[in-house]
Symmetry: C2
Subunit: 326 residues, 2 copies
Amino acid sequence: MATLDDIAKMAGVSATTVSRVINNYGSLSEKTKAKVFAAMRELNYQPNSLARSLKGKKTQLIGVILPGVGNPFFGQMVQEIEDQLFKKGYRIILCNAGDDSEKERDYLRMLMANRVDGIISGSHNLGIEEYQKVGLPIISFDRYLSNNIPIVSSDNFQGGRLAAQTLMMSGSKMMEIITGANRPNSPTSNRLKGFKEILGKNDVEFNTSEIDFSSSPIIKSLKIKEILSNKKVDGIFCTDDLTALLVMQQAKDLGISIPEDLKLIGYDGTNFIQNYHPELTTIMQPIADIVTMMIDLLLKRIDDPDCKLESNYTLPVKLITGATTI
Amino acid sequence: MATLDDIAKMAGVSATTVSRVINNYGSLSEKTKAKVFAAMRELNYQPNSLARSLKGKKTQLIGVILPGVGNPFFGQMVQEIEDQLFKKGYRIILCNAGDDSEKERDYLRMLMANRVDGIISGSHNLGIEEYQKVGLPIISFDRYLSNNIPIVSSDNFQGGRLAAQTLMMSGSKMMEIITGANRPNSPTSNRLKGFKEILGKNDVEFNTSEIDFSSSPIIKSLKIKEILSNKKVDGIFCTDDLTALLVMQQAKDLGISIPEDLKLIGYDGTNFIQNYHPELTTIMQPIADIVTMMIDLLLKRIDDPDCKLESNYTLPVKLITGATTI
DNA sequence: CTGAAAGCGCTAACAG
DNA sequence: CTGTTAGCGCTTTCAG
């Protein structure tokens, strides 16, 4: 692969001059510019960004750590992150941490080694103390990682309230909330709190079931079947849309009609759900806005590592009404 | 951020020695090793991989160019790629090319600038001549990019045949195939060919509708509605599962029962579909195997850039029978 | 078993 | 308007 020196030789100028035309810096005669450009084209030259970064420049690389891009929610989020960052001249290193804390730690080290300019993390793993000493700008999605790492999230509490109100308005009396394992600091715990707050105020009966986020759909379906068969529930709030989809499946199998016998509301409202399951009532997280916010904050920190940021940024959610709560 | 020199000083040894313990190379006394390790821990040291790569080492970075990770098919594929590459010590730079050729070209340049060790590309954009002169190991998923770039794909032709046979067996007489825009060299064109071959042999009537892959679900739904209302179709083959989902939606709206009035078969068979839409009969692409194959070939090329590879690697598809073709 | 020195490809003073 | 020089952080001969 051609180097700056190669093209300097070919154009009959010094390396400095080449560097100057690449960076469009200082004043060059049109003639030399032309010669250099010609040589660059001739050799299909691409400046080595490694060397450039070594000299103290930024890498224009951002690490993105998320549970996994197979999930449509995070798929859409990554797509949005990639899209917005690309427009600002950044590339992303994608890290699917899954539920593997060790992998997440490895990635953290690698990202440091690669000298990324910053990190966006929304992993589900907890207790990764390494976040405290990464020494790089980091923004978190919806999780507490460490002091001084700002958290951007949608209004989980309000989302829970909205879900409860919607279910009540549609006439359910005996509710069930199906949520992921509620580890401390988890956002779903706020969805739960908001939900309970409304129901408490209105003396509505309800029950809480925890199903681990990372367990397989088969397992989840089994637990849902149990819930549906054993109880006379007439309203369910799932803290994510995919689980709501499983509820619809199981209900159908059991001959329970939605919304006649059972009202259902989900959470997330991805494009995917809106397009392919418009019947599902859900609470939409404003993914694009969340991403814009995160990138905005991250770039600020990259620009000025000491800039003071809030510890929390909360964006509003929106109710999307489908046929499952009519 | 701490450098190798910093820790050399702290440990009271030379840079060379530190380098040796990092790379576990040559013979070191336990004592120096211990001192160096201590210093590394103390300063939370991470070797600068930029500097390392500049010295001629590989970057351990792979560029992944795909249409977009918001689509569950590519989401799953990226997840698989990331997973398998991580285990081999590589990280990925994710590039969502969408249907933007210019963006894809930009990314190609950036990947060169970043000196990635190789590229996996499965973009939908055609005519990117740049692929010819990237001068990096590249493997393609399901598209022709340039001579000498191996293509890994599932058996699209056989998939089309399977779809046709399945629809025939379930009793449809008047078929419709809904496919993406069939640009030359596109894989869907082989699905179509296989499908037609079987129908031709059996004198079954059918019709072909093209709906651009990148058009919105709303537009797609409209066209599907048209197809369903105007004709007396009783069997549909969609060359991707998401479109099949839309067909199910529209059929329901129009009071057409599946599978009673209409048989339906999709294509892709992602985990997502298998988990959340098990009712849909579909042709499953072996994503994990495809990825294994691609990575295998890519690493071979990275290891030996001149190694000869086939131009095509075709992996078998599998019929997954759901309730839509009973 | 350990160190000194050169150089990867590029940028940034400093000269002219 | 252009070139010389030094050095980013690391690896790698070549010497001890």
